[in-house]
Symmetry: C2
Subunit: 458 residues, 2 copies
């Protein structure tokens, strides 16, 4: 029998895709930067089917590329074409298995779309806080495998911190059942941590037990104008001391980003009367009433203004105004689409200096440089994009300057997007050899044949 036939016996012939028109969306990444052929796409419906598929591939020495919603930005979920590979799509494993409101947990399969998990939690009167641009199509298994971030990390942490239990199919096909729903369990090594953020290179996550949170009943949104990134970092500290964890998002936006958005969309207007150099979009959540929260935010912002910590601020007075402010933030990526992108992090306290130094170095090398700097400042995470468009031909030189600056600031070359294929070479310049050696030792221990998502991460 052919490989496809053997796989068909496990998952049913119609769940083994081979026709180019069927496989194409699975073989190309979302940004269309990576594309390669594989033997086929396999769509199992259960952990035991995943187990049988992987055991077969292990016997036949065929590599497995696990794929969720295929919305990743670093080429981690598509084949490399460098060996015999299959794409393993988790999309059919999309059941919410259980919601336990008293334990504040959701038990879900890897192929659940993130928005469906959020909705299921919401229907049960709870919050699942992981939230990011691709939430309508990305899958929770992918979110966990890449330790996804997003807009609520400041308050709730990254994907890793949302997980109490995992079910994982190991590279030899055995199923590890770590589906515990416990908030405390100190009985040996915390194995689930290995698979979270491993981008499918150590095994395939097939299900998870996720934490849920009380649903905020009140929200407030503020658009704040500032002198500088330094002012933003100081305001963050001030606001956190005044309103604590009610602050759930704190997004820095440069004037260049706002200008790009205003040029891009005629429907969006500058929320403030005068142009300002920097902005922060801040979101607050709380139990109780929105009026109470808004009053509290207003008085904290007034206090900050009196101290000279901000230039101007507007608080959204309606849901429509809130949506309008967030639309600015969400439009930034498309408003400056073609340039050299970086997803980086530094300690929050070092953001101002990192921005200054990097801009200066880029300006020396490229006098016409345009910098689009925005991101989750509360997490030290900047999306640092460098134009104009014609710099795309010199992207390696551009990134070298950014990444060298990062190194000086003890930063990370991938804050939330992972390594995938895009950054697996670059990371070797940044990690100390011992750390790379330990990573390789883990890979060899779990996947001695090197068949799990090869050519990614390591």
């Amino acid at each position: 029998m052919t490989l496809q036939q053997l796989l068909g016996e496990i998952v049913g012939a119609r769940n083994v895709l081979t026709a180019p028109e069927d496989t194409k969306p699975y073989f190309t990444d979302w940004r269309r930067q990576y594309s390669a052929e594989a033997e086929c796409v396999v769509r199992p419906a259960s952990a035991s089917e995943v187990s049988a598929v992987i055991a077969l591939c292990a016997r036949e020495e065929i590599a497995v590329v696990p794929q969720g919603g295929n919305t990743g930005l670093v080429g981690g979920s598509v084949p490399t074409g460098e060996c015999r590979e299959i794409v393993l799509s988790l999309a059919r494993m999309n059941r919410i298995r259980a919601i336990d409101v008293l334990n504040d947990t959701a038990t879900v399969e890897a192929g659940c779309v993130l928005a469906a998990v959020q909705r299921a939690a919401d229907d049960a009167g709870r919050l699942f806080p992981l939230s990011l641009a691709a939430e309508g199509s990305c899958q929770i298994g992918g979110n966990l495998s890449t330790n996804a971030g997003g807009v609520n990390v400041l308050r709730y942490g990254t994907a890793r911190e949302q997980v109490l239990g995992l079910e994982v199919v190991l590279p030899d096909g055995r199923i590890w059942n770590g589906m515990r729903a416990l908030r405390k369990d100190n009985t040996g090594y915390d194995l689930k941590q290995l698979f979270l953020g491993a981008e499918g290179t150590l095994g395939v996550i097939t299900a998870a037990v996720l934490r849920l949170f009380p649903k905020p009943t009140a929200t407030a949104t503020a658009w704040i104008a500032l002198d500088s990134p330094r002012a933003a970092v100081e305001l963050l500290g001030l606001l956190r001391s005044r309103v604590g964890d009610r602050l759930s998002a704190f997004e820095l936006i440069s004037r260049a980003c706002l200008d790009a958005v205003l040029r891009h969309s005629a429907e969006i207007h500058d929320p403030l009367p005068a142009a300002q150099p920097w902005y922060v979009l801040a979101e607050f959540g709380d139990s109780g009433s929105s009026e109470l929260l808004r009053e509290r935010v207003e008085s904290a912002l007034e206090e900050c203004a009196e101290r000279g910590a901000l230039r101007d601020a507007a608080i959204a007075q309606s849901n429509e105004q809130t949506r309008g402010l967030w639309r600015i933030r969400e439009t930034i990526p498309e408003a400056q689409f073609t340039n050299v992108k970086h997803d980086v992090s530094v300690p929050v306290s070092r953001i101002p200096e990192f921005i200054e130094v990097t801009e200066r170095e880029l300006g020396k090398a490229f006098p016409a440089v345009e910098i689009y700097c925005f991101g989750h400042v509360g997490d030290g995470n900047l999306h640092y994009n460098v134009g104009p468009e014609n710099l795309m031909t010199r992207r390696e030189e551009v990134s070298r300057i950014v990444y060298d600056a990062l190194k000086a600031f003890d930063g990370s070359i991938s804050a939330e997007h992972g390594l995938g294929q895009l950054k697996r070479e670059e990371v070797r310049r940044h990690k100390d050899p011992l750390e790379l050696e330990l990573m390789r030792a883990l890979k060899r221990t779990f996947d001695p044949k090197g068949l799990m998502n090869p050519g990614k991460v390591l």
Copy 2:
């Protein structure tokens, strides 16, 4: 040269202890259940000294028992006497290296006493939330190595969740510098997770970068009487929906525990006029004023009372009353000192049934059984102690009943204390063989000679 002389060349002769009166406190655990001799106690002052000591031990095939404050409850920090061992005390590595208020991080050495870390954070206007009974003498390195829990887990998580970066000396003596101060870093496997909670069996944590939080300016404390553990779990859900994460502790206390405390200490009085079957001690924290918070807690509790969710409640009206309520909780351990102790967890939703079933099964086997049940219900964590004293001679039978019940409820035999020597046999009955195999594979990968804290965990 003798081993002691070689070690003395590294750390200085006076930091190698061999006289019985000097070594005794290091060779016996806090509960005096485990005691064994080792070659000596070595007290290095820096990561490079730790590195040299461990490299020497690796060459000489001598086992290393890392020790912090030696306050653990499972015999994890003392020698086993089964091979040539040294105790490696981290106590001299007790510097707070830095506090970064804008990044909300503290960089500390492993030997810092937990209370000193809390104090350093407090002095900088921040909160380090890890808090537990031994905080005056336990050390942060031990807290991280055992993934310590305590009273603030409901709101802030366990020790693992407080860590951004680690420095670890590996079993061959090399130093892994993972001292990143980043809230987001997706550049490969998250190695620090392996050492957190590993009880020193994979390497020695020598320093860490810890998260800090805004300091609550308001607190409120309530003593709440309830019908049953089920009512407690339901009240937890209700309160969380009303006050969100302002709820920072939620401690269940049975009437038997309160009675034991009242018998034990003449200075402590029942906070409520009538005897009640169960109690919860709830702590709330917030920014803003305590009056505002207290009003909010009062109105939430009134609402709960109207729904019949509680029998009676008292809110502390002064710091003295708050201390009085917490004294009840803190006196429970000494008030019922000699009995068969268990530190277990189940999903929060299953606590009521677990308590019912276990009490029934124990009652069948031991008609005169006395159960002291209390703990961190918000985390699903119970301290489930079984008397009277004469049952100590039948502790294995008693624990068998408790642990078998746990298994049926998908619980953990060690919620926050770890495995150490005490539970390393028992855990084999609870974990599936594949999980134990993976744990052993990790141990072999990192510590092929088996020299790091042997006889613990695995």
